[in-house]
């Protein structure tokens, strides 16, 4: 399949367990071993208690559509997903929010609503890169 979007670049060392997990269709999130805080994005210290002891937890891949937009043009020449498409901020059940796309929906603001339940869909782009996209839950 032709790659229709920019590949993540750079893929940083502190995010390796995240990218490794996605290749196995697991959405892994950083979790502070000291205070238990699950956070996004990966970094080497906990943004809540500032401990330097970070582990990983597998997300259930469920959450809500915290906010969204409908793209009517591409803003990056490597992004070739046909317009209109849904740009999404997802709030995962574990707490953190991520940016992604909402797929398998009609990209119509009248038919979308903040806080609807969503679930992860894994999209393999290359042998190295699988992205977490989201769709309405229970499809």
């Amino acid at each position: 399949m032709e790659i229709d979007r920019p590949l993540p670049n750079p893929m940083t060392p502190e995010a390796k367990p995240y990218w490794d997990g996605l290749r196995e269709q697991k959405l892994m999130l950083p979790r502070c071993n000291a205070c238990g805080h699950v956070f996004w994005y990966p970094r080497v210290a906990c943004p809540k208690c500032h401990a330097r002891d970070i582990g990983w937890v597998q997300s259930k891949g469920r959450g809500t559509l915290h906010s969204f937009e409908i793209g009517h043009q591409s803003f990056n020449k490597a992004f070739k997903v046909p317009v209109p498409y849904v740009l999404a901020m997802v709030e995962l059940a574990e707490g953190p929010r991520m940016l992604s796309n909402l797929i398998n929906v009609e990209p119509d603001p009248k038919k979308l609503k903040c806080d609807i339940p969503v679930e992860v869909v894994f999209q393999k782009l290359t042998d190295e890169v699988t992205l977490p996209l989201f769709q309405p839950a229970g499809r």
């Binding site: 979007r5 920019p6 590949l7 993540p8 670049n9 750079p10 893929m11 940083t12 995010a15 996004w40 994005y41 943004p47 915290h66 906010s67 969204f68 937009e69 409908i70 793209g71 009517h72 043009q73 591409s74 803003f75 990056n76 992004f79 997903v81 209109p84 498409y85 740009l87 999404a88 901020m89 953190p96 929010r97 991520m98 940016l99 992604s100 796309n101 603001p109 609503k113 903040c114 806080d115 992205l131 996209l133």
Partner: protein
């Protein structure tokens, strides 16, 4: 114990101006835009370039580059870059530096070829946007600020028609400013039916993209009184940052950075949120100013847009907002923050002709950096 109030009104804005031209300027380098704006603003103050000993700038150039281009050797420099509000924040930094004698005449300079991109070279770490945002189509500001806007609509029932009123109000002011780029009247319907870019925004919800420069000159109050123009006192100042990535913003509908910066500025000036007769807000998007009014405590949560739809913000209204025509209709280079300071100073001096706000004493300048990520607030007055 240090007291914030000690910095109130110790320094004044004494010179302001833009570059010779603004708009689409492929024939001008960014350095030329800086140098034009600074020479114009220093002349406006009745000072000589050799008087300038503090240089403040953000974005594409270091203050060293600006000093070199101007042919001066500053003894105080500041290059704080936290987005478009950096210049507003730098007024605060300049006040502190002037107060302590670290410099005597401070120049805050901006020059950006936002439209023609002459010599523009992005230099920043791409680890977060390149890794976690770009693969989904996120990139320029409209793809981010729309998320803030959609969430506000969800939580407060704000409508596209209400956001459009911000563009309509601002365009009414632009019609009165000969320097504004877009001056023809627009209606709510025009905004709604304009080219869709990223819902909830059509192109008329989004700021212009222009080439321009702007500069602001400050000195201590004792010296300011002997200069060419009526001094504009910096009575209050504040800054703050919360997040950069939108996923890290605690509440998409409320800017913590804006609240922090406003609280500090109001406390220093000894004013409350209802003490202003004129407000300049950073309008990169129509939804920005209402959310800023809410974050500053000037409007209740969800009600900022009423200032626009009820006509309070427009010419003849009770609380004029963005009287230069704003980033939406006057000019927006990319880092717009210098321009609301220039307009507030001109209004406080009474130089604004057809768009002059009558009986003006106290003006508020508030701007954001990034996506409501950073903020700077100034309380400016023509009285000490």
């Amino acid at each position: 114990m240090p007291n914030l109030r000690d910095l109130s009104s110790v320094a004044c804005i004494v010179g302001v101006d833009e570059s010779d031209e603004m708009g689409t300027l492929p024939h001008k380098s960014q350095l030329s835009l800086h140098v034009e704006a600074v020479t114009n603003a220093v002349r406006d103050a009745g000072l000589k370039m050799s008087d300038v000993d503090g240089i403040f700038t953000a974005g594409q150039h270091s203050p060293a580059t600006i000093g070199e281009a101007l042919g001066i050797t500053p003894r105080y420099v500041d290059g704080t870059t936290v987005g478009g509000c950096s210049f507003i924040i730098m007024v605060g930094h300049a006040v502190a530096a002037l107060h302590h004698g670290l410099c005597d005449v401070a120049v805050i300079s901006h020059g950006e070829s936002g439209r023609s991109q002459v010599g523009v070279s992005p230099r920043r770490d791409t680890a977060i946007p390149g890794q976690y945002e770009a693969p989904y189509g996120f990139g320029p500001a409209p793809t981010m600020f729309g998320l803030i806007t959609t969430r506000h609509m969800h939580q407060y029932g704000t409508t596209l028609e209400q956001w459009a009123q911000v563009a309509v109000s601002t365009r009414k002011w632009a019609a009165l400013n000969p320097k504004a780029l877009r001056r023809e009247p627009i209606t709510v319907d025009d905004v709604l039916k304009a080219r869709p870019v990223v819902w909830p925004f059509t192109v008329l919800n989004i700021c212009l993209v222009t080439d321009a420069g702007g500069a602001v000159v400050l000195t201590r109050a004792d010296r300011a009184r002997d200069l060419a123009k009526k001094p504009v006192y910096v009575r209050g100042l504040g800054e703050g940052t919360e997040h950069v990535s939108l996923t890290q913003m605690k509440d998409l509908t409320f800017s913590e950075a804006t609240r922090i910066s406003g609280d500090k500025a109001f406390r220093m000036a000894g004013v409350g949120p209802s003490d202003f007769q004129h407000i300049m807000l950073y309008d990169a998007f129509t939804s920005g100013p209402p959310i800023m009014l809410e974050s500053l405590g000037i409007a209740k949560r969800g009600e900022g847009v009423r200032f626009f739809e009820e006509g309070r913000s427009t010419p003849g209204g009770s609380l004029p907002i963005n009287t230069n025509g704003g980033g939406l209709s006057y000019t927006h280079t990319g880092m717009y923050g210098i321009f609301p300071i220039i307009e507030a100073a001109r209004q406080l001096r009474g130089e604004c002709g057809a768009r002059q706000v009558p009986n003006l004493r106290t003006s508020l300048v508030n701007g954001m950096g990034g996506m409501l990520s950073a903020a700077g607030t100034l309380v400016l007055s023509n009285e000490r």
